[in-house]
């Protein structure tokens, strides 16, 4: 909790965005989970707001633009900037082209956080393969704190979902997930599974149960019985 004194001396390394040193003590600044590993103290914030970190893959929505870049809403304190030259992977000349030819307000983009700095909007990039505009399918929103569970240990949960449903799935660290499958029923099934993971993430054996649910669901869909 904010104000909780975790340790009375400073011989610890401190990690995470919810903790500070004050007056020789180590104090929490947000509601979070305490993790102590040897001499390292970490407080994992539970208050669910997404905090952008370099390297995060995120899903954003274009909300504004200038001559040479777009601004994306990514469920963060600031909107993220995506440069046209980055998106197009070539130099962009605004006097020759209009940026709205490529992305318009309302478009959904899968991007990676390239750079963040305190007090300033982050910059995102689409240069790597697999990143860029997303079309069709649907968006699902869950608490960013649960995203690691959806991905699973070494990606096992996400792989299982993709394997069984053959759906395309992109997961944003900012709590937004995109799914596109052959049929809307399959998309609904994936959404159902993800919401279930969100609710039951603390129970063991989750991966197995989700796999079973998905297999059962796929059979129902094939028989036309999916609700």
């Amino acid at each position: 909790m904010p104000g909780d004194i975790i340790a009375k001396d400073s011989n610890y390394t401190v990690r995470g965005a919810a903790i500070i040193r004050h007056d020789g003590n180590i104090v929490a600044t947000r509601v979070g989970l305490l993790r102590i590993k040897g001499r390292e103290i970490n407080v994992i914030p539970l208050t669910g707001r997404y905090i952008a970190q370099k390297g995060d893959s995120i899903i954003g929505i274009v909300v504004d633009y200038s001559l040479v870049y777009w601004l994306l809403e990514i469920n963060y304190v600031w909107k993220a900037r995506l440069d046209a030259s980055d998106y197009l992977k070539r130099p962009f000349d605004p006097s020759k082209e209009r940026i709205t030819k490529y992305l318009r307000v309302g478009d959904v983009v899968y991007a990676k956080i390239a750079h963040t700095e305190r007090g300033m909007p982050p910059i995102v990039t689409c240069r790597d393969s697999g990143y860029g505009k997303l079309e069709g399918g649907r968006l699902i929103s869950i608490s960013p704190a649960k995203i690691p569970r959806v991905i699973g240990v070494k990606g096992s949960m996400l792989e299982a979902i993709k394997r069984i449903t053959k759906a395309e799935i992109k997961v944003g660290a900012n709590g937004i997930i995109w799914v596109r499958a052959e049929r809307p029923e399959i998309e609904e099934l994936v959404e159902y599974a993800i919401k279930k993971i969100e609710k039951e993430s603390h129970l063991s054996g989750l991966t197995k149960r989700i796999q079973n649910e998905l297999i059962r669901g796929m059979h129902k869909i094939q028989r036309g019985e999916w609700q």
Binding site: G3, R30, P45, R149
Partner: protein
């Protein structure tokens, strides 16, 4: 429909001199407190705080872009607090236009919360705090501060400590904690807010008359009452997050 306890000054004095409070509580007893963290989904943070029949809903928005932009501070976030009373919160209908009292209290509440927040984490941004008094029965500013602390923590704003607040009073020779409306009307009313872990006072006001040599004792009584409220606030946050915490810890 329940009405506020009404009593004349004379009746109150007689009651208190015979060792009793207007609503039967002990001198250092708080009114029943009910807390709910996370009551609306359209804001980053929210909390409902009730002390007796005083009920305040507080909603936190942000951090967000500073509007108007000329108000932005390149070194830290601006905290914008609005304290407003619903028209039906008082005995007689209150006009929805903000009164001078509401404007003063907005400033006081802001200044009670500022020391607890790491506003330097969000330069050029704004954090908005709205306190809506749904029902007023004395202690609305203290309930607002208590609610606002929880809403800010819920919103994930980094804080040095929670801010806890109570109104302490003095009349007819007695120091009383958490004034009810009758006591508020006739006693010296000293609202106090503190960051309990640091023992620092962030709000202090007084009206009516109070003997100087009673003041240190009054502050100490206030500090102890605030400590109890602080524990209740922490419990409310803990209860809200304990299920999420369990999930996160076992999911690793």
């Amino acid at each position: 429909m329940a009405m506020s306890l009404k009593m004349s000054e004379e009746e109150l004095r007689r009651l208190m001199e015979s060792g009793r409070r207007a609503d039967g509580r002990a001198w250092d007893e708080l009114r029943p407190i009910r807390i709910q963290v996370g009551v609306t989904e359209r804001a980053e943070g929210s909390a409902l705080f009730e002390m007796g029949r005083t009920r305040v809903l507080c909603v936190v928005r942000g951090p967000m872009e500073c509007i108007p932009s000329h108000m932005a501070d390149p070194e830290k976030a601006i905290l914008d607090v609005a304290y407003r009373m619903a028209t039906f919160s008082t005995d007689e209908r209150k006009s929805p236009t903000p009164s001078r009292r509401e404007i003063e209290l907005s400033k006081i509440i802001r200044e009670a919360l500022e020391p607890a927040l790491f506003l330097e984490e969000y330069p050029r941004m704004m954090i908005k705090v709205y306190c809506l008094v749904l029902q007023a029965d004395a202690g609305t500013r203290t309930a607002s501060i208590n609610a606002a602390s929880l809403a800010l923590a819920h919103a994930g704003i980094p804080m040095r400590d929670l801010v806890s607040s109570v109104a302490v009073g003095y009349c007819y020779g007695r120091i009383v904690v958490d004034l009810c409306s009758v006591e508020d009307e006739f006693c010296a009313d000293v609202p106090i807010a503190m960051m309990p872990a640091y023992n620092k006072i962030t709000l202090l006001q007084a009206d009516h008359r109070l003997p100087i040599d009673k003041f240190p004792e009054l502050l100490e009584v206030g500090r102890r009452a605030i400590e109890r409220i602080y524990q209740l606030q922490k419990k409310a946050l803990r209860d809200m997050y304990v299920s999420i915490a369990k999930e996160a810890s076992e999911g690793e």
